[in-house]
């Protein structure tokens, strides 16, 4: 192996080796409780699909270079060298984990496999073996931040085309802009995803609530986080933070994207604005009486899929249930509790990888499909783009016979004067 690359990979591990990470790596007793907690193993019970096996792929390297046991008695912990096979081995482990952290709930020590897999993803980047498409998408996002003026015109033209759709959902007073941009001192900067489906319902709801809002020029999704590149994650995040600071907004509202919400809420450090998910904002509007919703017919049963990054890892659990309580009379909780809800199987960049991962995604999410089926609901609601795509795919693959809908669309469709 190229000695320079070897050194770079070791430095990457060292950079990630925080006090908490050392405890995660030293503490595991390989009890295997995490195995049945993982949707991949629960769906395809092969040992390679257990969180502990994934974590061991990094732990064995860590032992070799950072632990006395691995240096003196490598065979005791099966410590391994970094060599030309490392990248191939890590590819299998890093991208079979969606980072849902359900295993962390069950682990008696609370070991965070997603954190350990962040080392694996970083090593893959160093070895230039990461999924190329994710890195490319991250680079496109970063370049958009560098040359905003060149994309602004096209973006505004695109918005013009969908303004009528917004007005169709909520009529505005004459002279009001349906999708405002560049509004200084706005109360809310809304960060959407690329695509009308993420902008139209949200805009209608903001307008219905009489919100002083403005739309971000940047898309919320953070491909840097998916690919596991901390520097790219920060560059993508900083575009939005800088925009929010420039416009002096009070609150940044992240659209229905789990990773985007968690990255903005938990990785952006101290900031002069509040961070909310769009679900939290909608629940607030209802509580404050700023929007009113028309309930669905009583015979329409609904269930809700908690996106892992928003619920278990982000704390937005009660708000979607409160909103659904306003819309649906027949709500069916899908799992014993949201903390242990099964991951849809689309996170960690797997959905973004598209058809390349579809076979794995379908096989590894059978438990989720079973859970949806068991609810016998007609509508399956979620509040995350990746989850929505994955659930749609599952619906088709397992013939679940549900209608998969975004929570924000449900709210927008139920708006009444």
């Amino acid at each position: 192996m190229d000695p320079k690359l070897h050194q770079e990979m070791l430095k990457a591990i060292s950079d990630k080796l925080t006090g908490v990470m050392q405890m995660y790596l030293d503490t595991c007793s390989r009890c295997g409780i995490c195995a049945s907690a993982c949707h991949v193993y629960a769906s395809v019970p092969e040992f390679e699909n257990t969180p502990v096996y994934r974590a061991e792929s990094i732990r064995k390297i860590y032992k070799k270079y950072f632990k006395l046991q691995g240096k003196l008695l490598p065979m005791i912990g099966e410590a391994v060298d970094i060599d030309d096979n490392t990248a191939d081995m890590l590819k299998k482990t890093a991208y079979s984990c969606t980072g849902c952290r359900r295993c962390m709930v069950y682990c008696p020590f609370g070991i965070d496999t997603q954190q350990i897999m962040s080392i694996a993803k970083l090593l893959l980047i160093k070895a230039e073996s990461e999924p190329e498409i994710l890195s490319m998408l991250a680079d496109v996002s970063i370049s958009k931040g560098d040359s905003l003026d060149s994309v602004k015109e096209n973006f505004l033209k695109g918005l013009k085309k969908i303004e009528a759709d917004v007005v169709e959902k909520w009529k505005l007073e004459a002279g009001k802009v349906a999708i405002p941009t560049e509004v200084e001192n706005a109360d809310i900067l809304y960060v959407a995803l690329a695509g009308a489906h993420s902008i139209v319902p949200a805009a209608a709801i903001f307008n219905a609530a009489g919100e002083n809002w403005t739309l971000s020029f940047f898309e919320a999704v953070n491909f840097g986080a998916f690919v596991g590149d901390p520097s790219k994650t920060k560059l993508i995040l900083d575009r939005i933070i800088n925009e929010a600071i420039r416009l002096k907004v009070k609150e940044v509202c992240i659209c229905e994207c789990g990773t985007a919400y968690r990255v903005m809420a938990q990785l952006s450090g101290d900031k002069p604005f509040k961070v909310s998910s769009i679900t939290q904002v909608h629940a607030r509007y209802i509580r404050e009486g700023r929007i009113k919703l028309k309930p669905l017919p009583a015979d329409v049963s609904v269930t809700y899929h908690d996106p892992c990054q928003i619920a278990r890892n982000g704390g937005v659990i009660d708000e979607p249930r409160y909103i659904i309580g306003q819309i649906a009379k027949d709500y069916r909780e899908m799992s014993p509790d949201p903390k242990t809800n099964w991951c849809c199987g689309g996170g960690g960049g797997l959905v973004a990888l598209g058809d390349e991962t579809i076979d794995f995604r379908m096989k590894s999410s059978k438990v989720k499909a079973d859970q949806v089926k068991k609810s016998r609901a007609k509508i399956l609601i979620t509040a995350c783009e990746n989850c929505h795509t994955q659930l749609d795919n599952l619906n088709e693959h397992y013939k679940l016979g549900v209608e998969v809908k975004f929570l924000s669309s449900m709210v927008a469709d139920a708006l009444i004067k």
């Binding site: 030293d26 007793s29 295997g32 040992f47 096996y53 008696p108 609370g110 949201p338």
Partner: protein, 236 residues
């Protein structure tokens, strides 16, 4: 043979305790000295007070009970037995009235604690032979189980001999002066030598020494890190 016995019962004990204490302190210092991870790592929903919930998680493993009640039963049994054995060994040093609130004969448990721990250890060992645990187990897992088993077997045998079949030559009144002589740094193995079960004690101490020396460099540090890690999960 006497010099081998002396080596195991005196210098090796000192070395083992030194490595155990210094090694664990070193592990803790390393964790503290490493850079901090600033973003929250907690799991929702939050439950307050998070400190108490973290203690609950660390000592009663409620999610293990929910996921695998049989493993939970043996885990709880094993850890309770370890705690009772710790108390039992304390009483070999001296009389602690606080430990005699519920009056009992020294050594606590009349041999059943050792039996309990052996059953739990055998369960843990056989569990490792089944898939998928077999595939992700490493030699360290078996080594620790074997060291624990051997330590427990020879330790228990001393107690069983005394309490179950009246082999009363080696009792707490022999162990106590030996242990006190080690603590006072004037080692004397005389009281525990030249009796029928001396070799049991020597083997028990030998394997316990190995276990103590391996402890800080193995997964056994979970006994130190379980509480802080659970506090991180609870967002404390």
């Amino acid at each position: 043979m006497d010099s081998v016995y002396y080596f195991i019962l005196v210098p090796m004990v000192y070395v083992a305790f030194f490595i155990f204490i210094a090694g664990n302190i070193l592990q803790i210092v390393k964790v503290i000295q490493r850079k901090r991870f600033a973003p929250p790592l907690k799991i929702y929903p939050e439950q307050k007070p998070s400190f108490l919930w973290a203690i609950y998680d660390a000592f009663l493993f409620p999610m293990v009970r929910r996921s695998n009640p049989i493993l939970w039963f043996f885990l709880i049994g094993f850890h309770v037995c370890v705690f009772l054995l710790f108390l039992g060994h304390l009483e070999l040093i001296g009389d602690f009235s606080v430990l005699q609130i519920i009056g009992h004969e020294i050594f606590i448990g009349r041999g059943f604690v050792g039996l309990g721990i052996l059953i739990a250890l055998l369960f843990f060992l056989f569990r490792r032979f089944a898939s998928p645990v077999r595939q992700f187990s490493v030699p360290e897992d078996y080594l620790i189980l074997m060291l624990l088993l051997l330590t427990a077997i020879f330790g228990s045998q001393m107690d069983w001999a005394r309490t179950w079949y009246g082999y009363g030559e080696l009792t707490v009144y022999e162990y106590r002066p030996y242990i006190l002589s080690l603590i006072s740094l004037s080692p004397d193995i005389g009281p525990v030598m030249d009796v029928g079960h001396s070799f049991m004690l020597v083997l028990h101490v030998f394997f316990a020494n190995l276990l103590l020396m391996f402890f800080p460099f193995s997964k056994l540090v979970h006994s130190i890190f379980a509480v802080p890690l659970n506090m991180i999960r609870r967002g404390k």
